[in-house]
Amino acid sequence: MTSSALSVEDLRVSIGEQEILRGVDIALAPGRVHGLAGESGSGKTMTGLAALGLLPHGSRTAGRVTLGGRNLLDLPQRELNKVRGREIAMVFQDPATSLHPMLTIGRQLTEHMRHHLGLGRAEARARAIDLLGQVRIPGPAAAVDRYPHQFSGGMRQRVAIAIALACGPKVLIADEPTTALDVTVQAGVLRLLRGLCDDLGLAVLLVTHDLGVMSAVADDVSVMKDGLVVETGPRGRVLREPDHPYTRALLDALPREPSAARPGVIPGTPPVEGFDALPKEGS
């Protein structure tokens, strides 16, 4: 048995009468990026949040999210707060909303370190500058005193990653971290993520709808549909020889060779384009 940094077993989440996750299993290993693909409404974001123990108010959960021998779903709030940031951290889609606009990035970086790791002011600041260098922010010693709005979108996402890494977590959950970025900028952030995963031995869960991004950085890929993982496997296998018809349909729908193959229509076309997904008359 390989030791996993974080494992999700038979995770079920429902809100009201709606079952959003219907038994999800995912295992993250140190030094590997696990990509979680799926269309909107498939439950991929909810899986990412559940892995952090962040679930919407009023939801019911079952199953296990194991990190370092403990089930995060059972931990009291106080314990969970200690785990978050120190052992597991998250990067969100939009760096514009995940950073505090009124605080310098240095302050946002050191806050966590001083709180979780009990570092002194000077020590924390030195580490903050170090981290900014690690995420390749130019001129980290000066950058530490700037505010989020003084950075471009790509740089802000790098800062968000630095903050996530501040307390040396073992697991990083990245939810669509490059979706809001331009392709040329996305390329840089993807390279960074891959490098951090390799250098620090991070276990990364990369939630993305973009199979191109998935192919570029993920080692393993899971494909979700309607709250279930329909296929899991190594990147090359899943993207080149998919077993599940849904994975194949997702790949066929992508724009590739212009004239030769116009994009296919997903058979039965569930979540987005299907008419069966429409609410019934009068609802």
């Binding site: 900028v185 993807l190 709808h209 192919s215 090359g236 729908a253 590739r256 987005v272």
Partner: protein, 304 residues
Amino acid sequence: MSLLTVDELVVDHRTPGRPAVRAVAGASLSVAAGEVVGLVGESGCGKSTLARAVCGLTAATGGTISFEGGPVTRLGLRRRDRSLTKIQMVFQDPYASLNPRRRIGAQIADGLETARDRDTTPGGMLERVGLPGGMAGRYPHEFSGGQRQRIAIARALAARPSLLIGDEPISALDASAQAQVATLMRNLAVESGAGLLFISHDLSVVRLIADRIAVMYLGKIVETGATAEVWANPRHPYTQALLRAIPEPDGLGRLPEELPGDVPDPADPPPGCRFHPRCPMAMDICSEKEPDPGPVSCWLYPPA
């Protein structure tokens, strides 16, 4: 004669108390009837501003826009001139592009009314975009994003446009719906003999549907050409960087290439070629003199 000719278009955004931002800084472009032109570029390059100016939603500061031989005037409080209703636009956000309080049939009927078309029914238009005609009595909230975008396309096409503009019409959709909706727009425009100006940041989709590609960077069009040619042999360093940055879903684990540096502030563009601070092939002349507009606006390819 081309359907739409944009010549040396300049558009400034003015905010009181701030320097004017030149969103479009002298861009030239043409679209012929039945032709699909893809305008690509990254956020803030001015491509959406250009689209809005072509529709008359934004005033041009300089240059000319001519459509079917006449000038495009800015849409003010007066009713839009009938000849200009031949330009129709499909917007980016499928959740904002339909009136939530009206049945979709009534909204499509507005388009038919514009074209004085009494033979086509809203249901018939829905079928053309791949939705059941019987859904005309429903409200927008009963549809998914991709379906709403189809409805918006149906409404625009109902007005029988000779130029259809898509301003990032697929960027808010799920990946699987993107290519479908883009292909649908292409097919319907080409079938009806209309030109299509398709604006997107997604090169792989544009490659799929466009006959010609125009690449925009910081308010200027840096390269134009036949799609297959630009894709196979990009000449401008920016186009090259853009293509190299696209991650391919081939399962090979190749990391895309990064273009270092940030897009400069359009209020304070660099002198000379606007791309030179980030260009891996910059020469001395690049920072001194702006290259001439042309198929490739770059000093690496001096005009013959």
